[in-house]
């Protein structure tokens, strides 16, 4: 029964996560940036203009934000495998990661679009008031960061705590399973991506949020489905 639920959940959410990857690419992919440039201010230029992509496409990119409450279910398999480690090492990290995704859907994924608004307007009608433009852009960024604050804390804090939970050896997952944890996937994405040339770097780094959710979900689901003591 539980295995059936886990299988259904794993497959459904994995499929839905692919759409997030498409939307990530719309927001942040650049065919001209290599891996190093993805950690420089060059990526900010891509993000705040969405690479010059049209308004309708940026609206399409927002749509993955609608699915984040479903993406948050991806921590259910992790919780099933970690709950025996107790509240602090099992439930808390999964709750933090779920909270992060609940928030990220609205404030971050759907919210990226707001960062591109001024560039979209400038592309459409031009801009002759640089002071106003700069002030409005600063406010947009500040509201974005402020709104995103708890999501970021929960995402990074939860990822680290989750990894500590796995490394404790008290969960159903073996310690080596840290290699499939959200923290590890985040590390691989940026480490490998930073050495890649354009446009490969963009394919690896831009949808980092998608890999961050997708690979750990697939790994934890497969692991649990192979366990005989999960029913």
């Amino acid at each position: 029964m539980l295995k059936n639920h886990l299988r259904t959940l794993g497959i459904s959410v994995s499929i839905l996560l692919i759409w997030n990857g498409v939307c990530d690419m719309i927001y942040g992919f650049s065919s001209q940036l290599n891996g190093n440039e993805y950690t420089s201010l060059a990526i900010w230029d891509v993000m705040r203009t969405a690479g010059g992509r049209p308004h309708w496409m940026i609206m399409m990119a927002q749509t993955a934000g609608w699915l984040y409450p479903f993406y948050a279910l991806s921590y259910y398999p992790w919780w099933v495998g970690m709950k025996r480690a107790g509240f602090w090492l099992g439930t808390l990290p999964c709750l933090m990661l779920a909270y992060a995704l609940f928030m990220i859907g609205g404030i971050q994924h759907a919210g990226w679009a707001f960062l591109t608004v001024l560039a979209q307007a400038k592309a459409a009608v031009g801009s002759t008031d640089p002071t106003f433009y700069a002030t409005a852009e600063r406010f947009l960024v500040e509201h974005f960061v402020m709104g995103d604050l708890t999501a970021l804390i929960a995402m990074y804090g939860g990822s680290i705590l989750h990894a500590v939970g796995i490394l404790s050896g008290k969960t159903l997952f073996p310690r080596w399973f840290i290699a499939f944890s959200p923290l590890a996937v985040l590390f691989y994405t940026f480490f490998i991506g930073s050495f890649l040339p354009a446009p490969l770097a963009g394919i690896v780094i831009t949808p980092f949020g998608t890999w961050y959710m997708l690979f750990p979900l697939i790994a934890s689901t497969i692991f649990l489905l192979k366990r005989a003591d999960i029913n």
Binding site: M59, P69, G106, Q120, V125, D129, T135, F139, E142, G147
Partner: protein, 232 residues
């Protein structure tokens, strides 16, 4: 055990919802608007300028958005009281309301701040490019509404569905509880608020989202307080 947890959950969530009222008050309260004016473009003027509030205050108004995943737990209290009505009259409306709150925190409550960004910048440094201003404002609104689309559908669809479930008489709540349900509170706010003069209309209508969550959560928590069926 379960009942005790539900009590704690209901009281905690209801208290946290009061902070949402502060955020709503900053974003949308206007002492100059009467009830009828709240459904005109005058209200939009208040929103898009954040009533002239300073930037730090608008940022403060965003902070209740962080709590919406906790506010969404209020659906759990309803669900325990409605589950005997079956999946379609309990799980579905409660899941829709929970989804709506999960989305509204980020895309709507925190997102309200984006609608006032141009107004804030104009108040600070002026604006000499009306074509750019109007285009940027249009795009901001479009992205706001688009991001909010599924939340709005779930909000209104879930509210009506939830009301239907209460009226079915198959839940733990009596039919008259419709008056304290999200649908009842929303209807009350819109009808009564519409006739209120300034500044009272703003207290009801500017903070309509808070009352929409707070009153039903508190009511359901109190109603379920000693209902033993909750643990079955």
């Amino acid at each position: 055990m379960l009942q005790d947890r539900l009590r704690k959950l209901g009281v905690t969530v209801a208290i946290l919802m009061l902070w949402n009222g502060v955020g709503d008050f900053i974003f949308a309260y206007s002492p100059k608007l009467n009830g009828a004016q709240y459904s005109t473009m005058m209200f939009w003027d208040a929103v898009r300028t954040a009533n002239g509030h300073p930037h730090w205050l608008v940022m403060l108004a965003q902070t209740p958005g962080w709590l919406y995943p906790i506010y969404a737990l209020s659906a759990l209290i309803w669900w325990f009281g409605m589950r005997r009505a079956g999946f379609w009259l309990s799980t579905v409306p409660c899941a829709l309301l929970a989804y709506a709150l999960l989305m509204i925190g980020g895309v709507q409550h925190i997102g309200f701040a984006y609608l006032s960004v141009l107004g804030q910048a104009k108040a600070l440094v002026g604006s000499t490019d009306p074509a750019f201003y109007a285009t940027a404002q249009r795009l901001l609104v479009e992205h706001f509404l688009w991001g909010d689309l599924t939340a709005l559908i779930a909000f209104f669809g879930g509210t009506i569905w939830h009301g239907v479930a209460i009226l079915s008489g198959r839940t733990l709540f009596p039919r008259w509880f419709i008056f304290l349900s999200p649908l009842g509170v929303l209807t009350f706010e819109m009808v009564v608020g519409n006739f209120l003069p300034a500044p009272f209309a703003g207290i009801l209508l500017g903070m309509f989202g808070t009352w929409y969550m707070f009153v039903p959560t508190l009511s359901a928590t109190i109603w379920m307080w000693n209902r033993l069926e909750v643990s079955k």
